[in-house]
């Protein structure tokens, strides 16, 4: 990686639900007050992602006051029928995020695709377009919207707040395709929000980890455009200017 390839964007929505695993098992989901690393990684991956790259979230800035709202839900059971539950969402959320990408070391087949400029410019363009796929803030029902921005612009509700420390929170999962091991690990950390800005630690720097289960990595290999049968029936020709 030669040049810094930071992207900055803002994401906002009416509701967000970054579920706390402690409340998830019972079904009465309650949201964390700040987004998890994994949720933000998911958002930028929805905007633009290729198997060649791995997104790393650097910082996030909370723009709006943290407010919660409870809503009742009718979650459906496997066997038909439903139960009732109460979910606690964050309401009226807005974040500014700064992220950059690195190469996925474990995809050797994609070495030819490791073109910094290409991915960087496409990512920037996709942020301007609002994303290739739907973005959602935590859970699927919380629609999010993405726009480009400069990280420190604008006034946030927490500009002069000072420091706010959070207790042990979920950071993200180590999936086999990015860690190289056939295991699923969960990472945790203790975030600190200083004047609204949360500095995320890198996944490899997380010290508190938990082994979840054995997981097989999907062995996808691709030859890119050279794939057999992809361009069958097509002939290269010059386009008349």
């Amino acid at each position: 990686m030669n040049k810094p390839n930071k992207v900055e964007f803002k994401v906002w929505g009416k509701y967000a639900l970054f579920t706390d695993p402690l409340t998830k098992i019972g079904g009465e989901k309650c949201s964390y007050h700040i987004p998890t690393y994994e949720a933000l990684k998911g958002i930028i991956s929805s905007v633009y992602w290729k198997p060649t790259i791995v997104w790393i979230i650097d910082k996030a800035r909370v723009m709006k006051k943290i407010r919660t709202q409870t809503r009742s839900a009718k979650p459906i059971d496997y066997s038909g029928g439903n139960s009732l539950a109460i979910y606690t969402y964050l309401t009226d959320v807005g974040y500014q995020v700064e992220a950059h990408f690195e190469w996925n070391k474990y995809r050797f087949d994609l070495e030819k695709d490791r073109n910094e400029n290409k991915h960087f410019f496409v990512a920037r363009r996709m942020i301007e377009k609002g994303g290739r796929r739907d973005t959602f803030l935590g859970t699927r029902e919380c629609q999010g919207y993405v726009e480009p921005c400069r990280f420190d612009e604008g006034v946030s509700d927490y500009d002069d707040y000072g420091e706010l420390a959070f207790d042990l929170m979920f950071h993200g999962f180590d999936y086999p395709d990015e860690s190289g091991k056939p295991e699923l690990w969960a990472r945790f950390w203790r975030p600190k929000m200083v004047n609204g800005i949360i500095d995320f630690i890198r996944p490899d720097k997380c010290t508190i980890k938990k082994f979840v289960r054995k997981m097989k990595a999907e062995k996808i290999q691709t030859d890119g455009l050279g794939e057999h049968g992809l361009l069958e029936g097509y002939v290269e020709s010059e386009v008349a200017q």
């Binding site: 409340t23 019972g26 079904g27 459906i76 139960s83 539950a85 207790d167 938990k210 979840v212 289960r213």
Partner: protein, 668 residues
């Protein structure tokens, strides 16, 4: 989320209060692996397991701290036995001989024997085990005349003959009734009696097993050693033995709802990428340390019992706990309840009764409240956190955390003070109950401050409001108190509307609704800056109309009181119409006043003066002649003017103060 951390911290900070039973109605802060249960029978044995005596426990001393396992702590019916103290069904070998139904003694004795053989056994445990093994529990109780048998030598199902002596209590008085579905009535079933032990030994300082801390610790050690699955605790981040089940019984003793429950194996909630099954649960999703969850739930249960508010919802016949709001300081210091009204915060000692000749002004009463709240500051300190938590359940088995706010102590007190200042009015419905010989006398006391959310809900929707609506309204008002949000317009409109309909309510209820409406209207229009005293310079149409109505009402009421008639005044009857069409109705009211003016003669002067003055204050004739309906502001004018026109102590009563009827004050 941080609620678990805060509760854990609170437990650690309040360690000195563990096990202290302050009030028999309240749940104490329990040591881990223990729960409380109401016991009915107390058996005294010696260190060798010989029966000495037994007695029936009076209700006030019934609450007992007993050791429990995860399974027995959350048991519903006939399964996991408690390790030491349990019902006769578990403890007595001869149960089936005397009742004819199955005894659960086997499971109980297995566990107890395991404990007595382990390295964490306690001499008391050995004694109890010896006694229980002899199998004469019920026999001994019968010979002591604690339990009663019939002619067939089986335990009686209900009392056979009436008690000779009304003072002594027997076991039938204390037993929880068991519903006999066939006969459709409650039966006192002696076998449901819960037993607790006392082991007497020479030199033993603490024969009572439920107060013996060494016994508690032995049980905790023994049970902790039995846990084998370990892993990362999601609360502390350390490796600890995992909890398999989490405690229930948080809001009330019979509450089966759990905050952390992993019962959703049949839904789409949390499986997905995790491969755990109910049979093979390796806690992939989430694991919590065993002692952590015990401490957290124990702290929560203690706090709810001590300083929480539980709202019940009627589900058919039963009332089950629903919304629960609890606020506490993490350091364990005392804080005022956010759901209290100003009267409850002040406390009875601070209020001056009507006897005194000094009539406190609104300012003095407000100042007293401010000082009381400021008094908590010293105990809290600046940096101590205050947590406000709201819990609710959609299904009887699970609870959700609907609110969670963490504030610094000073922030919390500031916001509470602001609430009581901005949403304040003069209220006259504070009740003090005084016991004089055998009667309970009720005194009504005036206080200044905000009404409680419960009272607001009742004022907005009626005293017979549906439980769910009451609960929802309280939930909506809570952010106004805690986060300083503005009250919702619809609640205010609803209260104002009900307060305008004077004939539809009884006198005490109307007065209460009136002052609550004034408080809420004042809060909604904070920027107008209404004062609680009469504002002689205010020229807004609605305010002046309110004053007019008050003057007419007081005049007529005074005249009626002189002639000792007790009918409602015309102004009272026409209040609803007045608020809809003030100008037309005023014409009628003024005409109705003529005979009373004539009757009073010179004594009517002060009321007529007010009416004249107010009439001249209307800015333009259009203001007066327009029939536009009045907003809630007229209630403010009405209340202030009525206060001003109220006679001082030496003058004859002209306002119906006596007709503030007795009302059962429900527990909040």
């Amino acid at each position: 989320m941080s609620w678990m951390h805060r509760l854990y911290e609170t437990y650690e900070n309040c360690k000195s209060m563990v096990g202290k039973i302050e009030d028999d109605n309240q749940v104490p802060l329990l040591p881990i692996c223990h729960t409380t249960q109401k016991a009915q029978i107390e058996i005294v044995i010696d260190e060798d397991g010989n029966f000495r005596r037994a007695k029936v426990i009076p209700k006030k001393q019934a609450r007992t701290i007993i050791p429990c396992t995860e399974a027995s702590g959350g048991r519903t019916s006939g399964e996991a036995p408690h390790p030491l103290c349990d019902k006769l069904q578990y403890v007595a070998v001869d149960y089936s001989k005397f009742t004819g139904s199955e005894s659960y003694y086997q499971a109980f004795s297995e566990h107890l024997s395991d404990w007595s053989k382990s390295q964490d056994a306690h001499p008391k445990v050995l004694a109890i085990f010896k006694y229980v093994q002899r199998g004469k529990v019920i026999e001994d109780l019968i010979s002591c005349k604690i339990l009663h048998v019939g002619v067939d030598k089986m335990l009686l199902k209900k009392r056979r003959e009436t008690k000779k002596d009304k003072e002594t209590i027997d076991v039938f008085d204390l037993l929880p009734g068991r519903e006999n579905k066939k006969k459709d009535r409650i039966e006192n079933w002696q076998a449901d009696a819960f037993v607790r032990w006392i082991v007497e030994k020479e030199g033993e300082e603490c024969p009572k097993t439920w107060e013996d801390r060494t016994l508690w610790n032995k049980w905790i050690d023994y049970y902790s050693n039995k846990k084998n699955q370990r892993g990362l605790c999601y609360v502390t981040g350390e490796e600890k033995p995992y909890a398999e089940q989490h405690p229930a019984k948080l809001r009330t003793d019979g509450d089966k709802a759990k905050i952390i429950s992993s019962n959703d194996w049949g839904g789409f909630t949390f499986l997905g990428r995790f491969t755990d099954t109910k049979e093979n649960n390796t806690y992939q999703t989430c694991g919590i340390g065993f002692d952590v969850t015990q401490k957290v739930h124990s702290a929560l249960r203690w706090l709810i019992s001590r300083q929480g508010v539980v709202f019940y919802v009627k589900d058919g016949v039963k009332a089950s706990p629903a919304l629960t709001i609890v606020a506490w300081a993490v350091s364990g210091a005392q804080i005022p309840k956010p759901t209290d009204d100003a009267f409850a915060i002040l406390g009875e000692e601070n209020l001056v009764s009507d006897e005194s000749s000094v009539v406190s002004t609104a300012q003095e009463l407000a100042l007293r409240l401010k000082n009381k709240i400021a008094g908590y500051k010293a105990g809290l300190g600046d940096t101590s956190s205050v947590v406000i938590m709201g819990l609710d359940s959609a299904t009887p088995g699970r609870m959700a955390i609907t609110h969670y706010t963490e504030l610094t102590g000073s922030d919390f007190l500031e916001r509470l003070e602001h609430w009581h200042e901005s949403c304040a009015w003069i209220h006259d419905y504070g009740v003090i109950e005084q016991k004089e010989s055998k009667k309970v006398k009720r005194k009504y006391v005036r206080f200044v401050g905000a009404p409680s959310p419960k009272d607001i809900a009742e004022a907005a929707y009626g005293s017979k409001v549906d439980d769910k609506l009451k609960k929802a309204t309280v939930e909506r008002i809570l952010p106004c108190i805690i986060e300083g949000r503005q009250v919702s317009r619809d609640i205010v409109e609803s209260v104002v509307h009900r307060a305008s309909n004077r004939v539809g309510l009884e006198n005490w209820e109307w007065n209460k609704t009136l002052s609550i409406a004034c408080a809420l209207y004042r809060k909604l229009n904070e920027k107008e800056g209404y004062s609680m005293d009469l504002d002689e310079n205010r020229k807004t149409r609605d305010y002046l109309y309110g004053r007019l109505l008050a003057a007419a009402d007081c005049l007529e009421s005074f005249a009626l009181s002189l002639s000792e008639k007790k009918r409602p005044t015309n102004a009272a009857r026409l209040m609803q119409r007045f608020s809809d069409r003030p100008c037309d109705t005023w014409k009628d009211i003024e005409l109705y006043l003529t005979p009373y003016k004539a009757r009073l003669g010179g004594r009517a002067k002060k009321y007529m003066d007010v009416i004249d003055r107010v009439m001249s204050m209307f800015d333009s004739p259009d203001d007066f002649t327009s029939n536009k309906p009045l907003s809630g502001e007229f209630l403010l004018g009405f209340h202030c003017q009525r206060e001003k026109l109220k006679p001082k102590k030496n003058e004859p009563q002209s306002i119906d103060e006596e007709s503030v009827l007795d009302k059962e004050n429900e527990n909040i």
